[in-house]
């Protein structure tokens, strides 16, 4: 009976203590231990399936709402214009003129030629292949996140309630949980790798650091609620090779490192990132470059070659696009890493946009905001395909090899294979391409037959030596 005389505050304290104990126990049992041991209970997949059902319901609700008002839902996925398949400039112009080309003594110009460039130009204003790759992919069904809703008018009360619940769950439950896990993961990584770095025995250091890296990456993966499906694991990158992959977000690194150990390549950063980098390098051979060294192609190539030549070292992880693209396409691969004579292991990563947009739009928001966004989405669902290793063939130069690898990755991931440079996100396109167009037109004017006319394909020439993560994605999260 003395129970009733205990003041309320005490009671609340006790409840709080019990709650925290239970919470921590659940956390450790269901998340930390599996992370350390590398097993999975399948909770995340169940979560994923439930979410999908809810999304479908939400979209059908919106459609019903729209039908009642006799309007149509705005679907951003249909294109704006119907584009013809790209043909060569020469073919198009001849179609325009209605005459076959033959060598003429005088150049033949027609005022109607302007229509060709005019229409092409306006078509590119309406829908071009490049600029849309640098912003988030649009969804055709709503996933209960405000950030991806285009049909706000059609949300009924019921849907709003569900959405509100969703917000509560995401920000109140999932976000704190994930932040805790992330902090734990990174903290453990820094501390443990530094400790292991003190061990004298090289072999022991290596094997321990592998385990530590894997464990911390697994914790980070759970911090993002990342549900990853790995395909074709028999093709996993081996020592003495380079792993290349398409780049969407700094999280790519965590996703790949969750399943194997890689040596990262990147610029040395200051602050927290720098500390993490220094800690990591104590126990395993990552390659960090000073800012000044990045421009020196030979130095970069040498360091990579040296690393690759040493068969005891892990494979290097490189993102040849050099910048984050929105996961609908693969853009030009910089040839630097393809010049090194070793096996290339291509990997294709494809994110499922329904659960959260993984693309890091570095011009729109910074790293911290991006991570918060990621941690407050539903989940990060992706598929990783390990493609069979490729080697440079006889008579193939680095650019052709790079394009071959890019085509393989694009084909596997269901992405559009583009030859445009990802650097166009920030930089202007080179004048050389315009000159090529002018060149082609001149040939048509003069009536020259051009066998080597590749139409609108650009001949690539890259200037940047390294395709590692640069200042815009200070990625080293682990």
């Amino acid at each position: 009976m003395a129970w009733f005389t205990i003041p309320v505050e005490n009671l609340m304290c006790r409840c709080l203590c019990i709650f925290i104990t239970v919470w921590l126990t659940l956390l450790i049992v269901f998340i930390m231990v599996p992370a350390v041991l590398g097993i999975s209970f399948g909770i995340r997949r169940l979560y994923m399936r439930t979410l999908l059902k809810i999304f479908e319901w939400a979209t059908s609700q919106m459609e019903m709402g729209a039908k009642e008002k006799n309007q149509q839902l705005y679907n951003p996925c249909n294109g704006i214009i119907a584009k013809k398949p790209p043909t060569s400039l020469q073919q198009d112009l001849q179609e325009l003129r209605g005459s076959a080309s033959c060598p003429r003594s005088e150049p033949q110009f027609e005022m109607a030629d302007i229509f060709f460039f005019c229409r092409r130009g306006v078509e590119s204003i309406l829908d071009d292949e490049v600029t849309k790759r640098f912003s988030s992919q649009e969804l055709d069904s709503w996933n209960l996140l405000t950030r991806s809703n285009y049909n706000v008018r059609h949300i009924s009360l019921r849907l709003t309630v569900i959405w509100g619940l969703g917000v509560l769950v995401r920000y109140g439950v999932l976000l704190p949980l994930r932040v805790t896990l992330a902090v734990t993961g990174i903290g453990l990584l820094v501390v443990l790798t530094t400790l292991v770095g003190f061990l004298p025995n090289r072999e022991l250091r290596f094997s321990l650091s592998e385990k530590i890296h894997l464990m911390c990456h697994r914790i980070c993966v759970r911090a993002l609620t990342a549900i990853i499906t790995y395909h074709n694991r028999e093709n996993k990158p081996k020592n003495g090779g380079i792993c290349v992959s398409n780049h969407t977000t700094p999280i790519d690194v965590i996703i790949l490192a969750n399943d194997g150990c890689y040596s990262m390549v990147g610029q040395v950063h200051g602050g927290l990132m720098g500390m993490i980098q220094r800690a990591m390098v104590k126990s395993s051979p990552h390659i960090w470059f000073e800012r000044s060294e990045v421009k020196d192609r030979h130095l970069v190539a040498k360091r990579l070659s040296d690393h690759v030549a040493d068969k005891t070292k892990q494979p290097i992880l490189i993102f040849p696009e050099g910048t984050c693209i929105n996961n609908t396409s693969v853009m030009m691969f910089k040839k630097g890493s393809f010049e090194i004579a070793c096996t290339v292991y291509p990997v294709a990563i494809k994110y499922d946009p329904r659960f959260g947009d993984a693309f890091w739009n570095s011009s729109k928001f910074g790293m911290v905001y991006y991570l918060l966004r990621m941690m407050s989405s539903w989940a990060v669902v992706c598929s990783v395909w390990y493609l069979p290793p490729m080697n440079r063939e006889e008579g193939e130069d680095a650019v052709q090899f790079a394009n071959r690898v890019k085509a393989a990755i694009a084909a596997q991931g269901g992405l559009v294979d583009l030859i445009w440079d990802g650097g166009l996100k920030r930089a202007k396109v080179k004048d050389a391409f315009k000159e090529e167009q002018q060149n082609l037109y001149s040939k048509v004017l003069l009536g020259e037959q051009d066998e080597g006319d590749l139409g609108d394909e650009q001949h690539l020439e890259d200037e940047n030596p390294e395709e590692d993560e640069r200042n815009q994605d200070p990625t080293k999260e682990q």
Partner: protein
């Protein structure tokens, strides 16, 4: 962030644009979405830099002339209405039969208006005639450095000779129409907009 095209554009505006240009409701919404994605400054207007950021337009030899066509005389910003008005020139002519506004005097995408658009690409100083100089400049834009000045000059001379009927050594709009009377302008200057 958050809600986009369909809420930021008011219904009345969409109706007005529909009347003026003949685009359908969903086309206008989709084009507005494109407009906002190009508008990096997020101030409701596009500048010349916004257009030049499109790589495929930047490598078009006449890219600058096309961009210029969107901007009214002396202005450096174009708003969504102006954007749509210019794009309306490229609607296919058949679409007009399906639209309900037969009251429009001459739709923006009529053959004459399409030809006027092309004429203005040549007419650099907007004085309603294409002089030899202007023709040379546009030709130079299209061929780059690949053809010599003399050859280009003779091309320009020949073109003006063939087109000029009133002997003022420049091409007026009517002479321009005459030169292109056999060309299927409707098809060459039309873009198929999806509904």
């Amino acid at each position: 962030m958050g809600s986009r095209a369909s809420t930021l554009l008011r219904e009345e505006e969409i109706e007005e644009i529909k009347k003026e240009t003949g685009f359908s409701h969903s086309q206008i919404t989709r084009l507005y979405s494109r407009f906002t994605s190009l508008d990096k400054g997020e101030n409701g207007t596009l500048s010349r830099e916004d257009f030049q950021r499109i790589p495929e337009l930047a490598i078009n030899p006449l890219g600058d002339r096309i961009i210029n066509a969107f901007f009214p005389e002396g202005e450096d910003q174009v708003n969504f209405r102006g954007f749509m008005r210019t794009l309306a020139h490229f609607r296919p002519i058949e679409d007009n039969e399906k639209s309900k506004n037969a009251a429009v005097s001459e739709p923006l995408n009529s053959r004459t208006n399409k030809l006027m658009f092309a004429f203005q690409l040549y007419d650099l100083d907007r004085d309603d005639k294409i002089s030899r100089d202007e023709l040379l400049q546009v030709l130079r834009m299209m061929v780059g450095v690949n053809i010599s000045d003399e050859q280009l000059g003779s091309i320009a001379d020949r073109t003006i000779q063939e087109a000029d009927t009133n002997g003022d050594n420049s091409i007026s709009f009517n002479e321009f129409i005459k030169v292109l009377e056999k060309v299927d302008v409707e098809q060459k200057m039309s873009i198929r907009f999806l509904h």
